[in-house]
Point group: C2
Chain length 354, copies 2
């Protein structure tokens, strides 16, 4: 059934029914939840963190690649990631969704399933939002509120700190390249996949092999799956293990080097990054070889990994890779032969010149 | 210059420069403002109110009627109105803006001027947001955070309470009808007008007369201006004078009767509304007569007035019109001859059947 035959009020009523918090949740901090003019929370003396992000059809996502489930999950993840990048814990979600009237109701509810799946993973509660018709593209935006005691900004790095990344980057950008090159059949098989948010579980597709379009190359589902999952359903990294160490932090949304440049801008520092220390996942190495790519390109300039990039005075931080150090000089990259080059903060820029 | 030649980062930097709070504002509650992964506020023990609303081109606005300045102002107003409808004070603003790459930079900055004008009026501070490209339509969304001590929900009305409205409704809907019927020249003159947010001031257009399209009727600028202003640049009503009285409250965004029905739903009560007590503005009476309309139609079912509709046990409330009473029975309207009819909560519904 198309949304035009359902009506906004029916949908809102159903969302409210499905997402109203259990009445036995006294520690939720929620004074007024979904359904009034505004939600009301009681932060009980804690600081409140707020972030908002938008995802537009044709710009941030392509419905030929992403299912509504993927989109819903990712919308929550990218916002939660911004809260986590400040060292906070995500608590509350507000959604703005606009789509065409002829969208099928099943699309709408699959989007909500993806949202609900992420809400469960991050333990965030839906407290409000807006649902409107659109003339053309589907536009999604979310606002996430969180809480935190110690806040870690982009501006706290000091000369002598080390630079760390939580996990290898580039997987998401490589996953997107794979998606673009798949045959329509392979792509649709990927689109139907609900990647387990933990990265485990195969949903019975253990033996799926995917065929790449132009070259008729066959790529292994099992080996490329982490890349596809990272692009379609990225999981925000929990910053809590890093809080005792981190002096400055940012999440890698636009690319390792551009986001490092932003951190350096705010901290007023330089950086030296060693290319041979930039971690690369096995999946990225595998796919890059097949695609004839240098894996360091997506690892340093690919966006949407949502790994945490941080600085810390410590010589090592459990669960993170040291890729360089904070300096008082220029921002440079050291290649495998020890040669220094300027670090270029390149990445995706909206409204950038074509 | 088109946005594609400017780049997102330049625009964001400029927004940050223009909107960063003055460093001598220690009571702002802002720990971290624009420019990090998330904003951080310290509510200092107060409750936090949160609302978010979207405005889509072709659905909520038509750029042939509204200037970017109008849109920016209205975007802030409709969100502030939701905070005020809970009895709160608006404090912080977050924006999501997406528009096509070929939009002229002047459009973008005029939008921001409208936003800044509303920010000044309501004393809200811009703390963050997202700026992205769009394939087709301009989509705007805002999130406003506020604070409040006593929160007034839609659910607090009791049998015997009176029903009040702050100012006449229907002006906005009638203003839209006038806009639709103007000649292109008259419409463009209205579009260029920056209505003073207070409703005062004429910007030297005191003598402008506007010509209505189909009938070649001339309407008076001075007499219709309040209607046009209410539609293009609605001002949210300050609830503070009502706080000692109000038991339940909602802002009239979709129409007086539909929003009253929502208040009744949440309070679990009935209502009796006297049509001859529904206030009508002089401007609405004037325009309705020219257009051959019953002014009660826009007054009871027209949307986007953003007046406050509330209930109170008191027999009278200064600065508000009593239009009826809360009952334990059905929701009824009493016409001028004393006849009762069912109150129909009709108003605009997204995804409603055509």
């Amino acid at each position: 059934m198309q949304l035009r035959n359902r009506g906004e009020l029916h949908l809102l009523k159903e969302i409210r029914r499905r997402f109203s918090p259990a009445p036995d949740a006294p520690d939720s901090g929620v004074v007024i939840g979904i359904g009034d003019d505004a939600a009301v929370i009681d932060p009980k003396g804690k600081k409140v963190l707020v972030t908002t992000d938008m995802m537009n059809e044709g710009i941030h996502f392509d419905l030929a690649f992403s299912s509504p489930f993927h989109l819903g999950f990712k919308l929550v993840s990218v916002n939660v990631s911004d809260i986590m990048a400040m060292g906070g814990s995500a608590r509350y979600l507000f959604l703005n969704i606009s789509m065409k009237k002829d969208v099928d109701e099943a699309f709408f509810w699959e989007l909500y399933e993806g949202i609900a799946s992420a809400m469960e993973l991050y333990r965030v509660e839906l407290l409000g939002g807006d649902l409107t018709a659109a003339l053309n593209d589907t536009v999604l935006s979310a606002t996430v509120l969180g809480e935190g005691d110690r806040v870690i900004t982009r501006g706290g790095a000091s000369v002598g700190d080390r630079i760390y990344i939580t996990q290898p980057t580039g997987d998401s950008a490589c996953g997107l390249e794979i998606l673009k090159s798949l045959t329509p059949q392979s792509r649709e098989a990927v689109r139907r996949e609900r990647f387990a948010a933990t990265g485990e579980g195969d949903n019975g597709r253990r033996d799926l092999e995917m065929i790449v379009h132009s070259s008729a190359t066959i790529v292994s589902w099992k080996r490329t799956k982490p890349l596809l999952a990272r692009h379609l359903m990225p999981v925000a990294r929990d910053p809590r293990p890093l809080l005792p160490y981190a002096s400055a932090m940012i999440d890698v949304s636009d690319g390792l080097f551009i986001d490092l440049s932003r951190l350096c801008d705010e901290s007023g520092v330089g950086a030296r990054v060693y290319l041979d220390r930039v971690p690369l996942s096995d999946a990225l190495r595998y796919a890059a070889e097949i695609m004839g790519l240098d894996p360091l390109v997506p690892a340093t300039s690919g966006g949407e990994d949502y790994e945490l990039l941080f600085t810390a005075p410590a010589d090592s931080v459990p669960g993170a890779f040291c890729i360089g150090e904070v300096t008082g000089g220029e921002r440079v990259v050291v290649d495998r032969d020890g040669r220094e080059m300027p670090l270029r903060g390149e990445g995706y820029q909206h409204f950038g010149a074509a």
